[in-house]
């Protein structure tokens, strides 16, 4: 891993489980003896409004806990995309939901139909695990196997299988689809 500090932003709409996704990432980092800090922003409109998780992962102590220069932004809503579109550097990947976002086609914009694929998988709620798969493919901040382990403890027992499936799907398909 060339890079020491990873900054990942997972942004979208309340209810998409992005905070959980962030927590899962940070916990996996800790499992790997790294440091992980997860923070979040939310509006007064917790239900259906803008929601965002930020994760910083590093081998060393993390001081600034937020993403001032993210490596990747996951944008599952137009609002999320707009908020970051002009804030991030050109190197930053924006991975967006093709079903919800009209992208400006930046060089590092990567679209994927997360919503549709999640429904396909059988439950729109797995959109977060699906996206996590994609994120991991693009930014190998933690090992997918470790993340899967943590995911198993974070989601309700009956949803584990589907979430793992979604994780794999995201991991596999983003590559297939986008590169």
């Amino acid at each position: 891993m060339a890079k020491k500090t990873w900054q990942l932003v997972l942004a979208g709409t309340g209810g998409q489980g992005l905070i959980l996704a962030g927590v899962t990432l940070a916990k996996t980092a800790v499992l790997e003896q790294k440091n992980g800090v997860q923070t979040q922003s939310y509006g007064i409109q917790t239900r259906g409004g803008y929601s965002q998780a930020e994760v910083v992962i590093c081998d060393e102590t993390i001081y600034f806990p937020k993403c001032d220069n993210p490596d990747l932004v996951l944008a599952l809503s137009q609002d999320a995309y707009e908020r970051y579109r002009h804030k991030v550097s050109n190197d930053c990947i924006i991975l967006y939901d093709d079903d919800a976002v009209k992208s400006d086609k930046r060089t590092n914009d990567i679209g994927y139909p997360f919503s549709a694929r999640a429904i396909d998988l059988g439950n729109e709620k797995v959109i977060n695990s699906l996206a996590l798969g994609g994120v991991l493919k693009l930014c190998p901040v933690v090992a997918k196997e470790n993340l899967a382990k943590v995911l198993e403890t974070e989601v309700p027992a009956k949803a584990v299988a589907l979430n793992l499936q979604a994780l794999e799907a995201g991991y596999e398909e983003i590559q297939k689809w986008s590169c």
Partner: protein, 276 residues
């Protein structure tokens, strides 16, 4: 007719509102604005006073005058507004937290003082805004985010409380009873003195999900089943009563309101007696 419709009182640019799908608040806001339209009140004549909470966001969607105050103090602000300009129609929209938990003192005193205003309390049995904690109306053993095993406190019957405090007009219905609700609000606003409409309401996201069902339709049906007209309620056994609540007008008195009494007692030409 005035030509007002419920839309005359809504601020379209602020919609859609922030309430969850199937939240009772939207139904109640509709009933409130329908009532204003049927009463032919101009938006400029009406001050909607709100507290803080999901229902306390209602002012954000309204095109009447609005006063969005601090949590629990809506009736105290409303009292000042009404006495500051008695020509205004003043309606306070409060959640159960706002009205009878943190705001309980203003609630009983406004009722006693008989200020000529209307309180519309949406009782969704919890604090929706802050994430579904229990409130002073959550029924005993109700599950909420701060009573994972159930509350150890019974909830208020806030209509009874208002009555005991001296309220002039007290009525209860639910957001299921949309037409009755609109008419009740009309009657309350028209009634002189302090009038209270309690709307037992549906928070599918929290109280519903934890205690009944997350489906808005199931929640409304639950409300429908719980609500019985007051006459019928009175004939019920105590055990049956515990499972239901009475709806319709519960108190209907005609005490003169505070301002009228104040003006009668304190005429400007009168020299003050007492301590000189």
């Amino acid at each position: 007719m005035s030509g007002y419709t419920f839309k005359s009182y809504l601020e379209k640019s602020q919609l859609p509102h922030m309430w969850c799908p199937g939240c009772g608040d939207g139904i109640i806001l509709r009933a409130y604005t329908e009532a204003l339209a049927e009463l032919c009140l101009a938006p400029q004549e009406v001050v909607t006073v709100t507290g803080i909470g999901c229902w306390g966001k209602a002012d954000d969607y309204l095109g009447t005058h609005a006063f969005h105050g601090t949590h629990g103090r809506a009736l105290a602000f409303a009292t000042g507004i009404k006495l500051g300009n008695p020509d205004l129609t003043v309606v306070a929209l409060m959640g159960d937290g706002d009205a009878v938990t943190i705001g309980g003192n203003h609630f009983i005193h406004a009722a006693r003082r008989n200020i000529n205003l209307t309180a519309i309390v949406t009782n969704n049995y919890n604090y929706g805004m802050t994430g579904g904690q229990y409130s002073a109306t959550t029924p005993l053993e109700g599950k909420t985010t701060t009573s994972p095993n159930g509350t150890a406190e019974p909830g208020f019957d806030l209509c009874f409380l208002a009555e005991a405090a001296g309220a002039n007009f007290v009525a209860r219905t639910t957001c299921y009873h949309a037409v009755a609700l609109k008419n009740m609000i009309k009657e309350a606003i028209s009634h002189q003195g302090f009038s209270l409409v309690e709307v037992v309401s549906s928070c599918p996201t929290y109280f519903g999900r934890f205690n009944v069902h997350p489906s808005p339709v199931k929640m409304l049906n639950w409300l429908k089943d719980k609500a019985v007209p007051v006459q019928k309620y009175r004939e019920m056994s105590a055990a049956e009563q515990a499972e239901h609540f009475a709806v319709s007008t519960l108190v209907n008195k005609n005490r003169p309101d505070f301002y009228t009494t104040y003006k009668r007692i304190n005429r400007p030409d009168q020299s003050a007696k007492g301590e000189e």
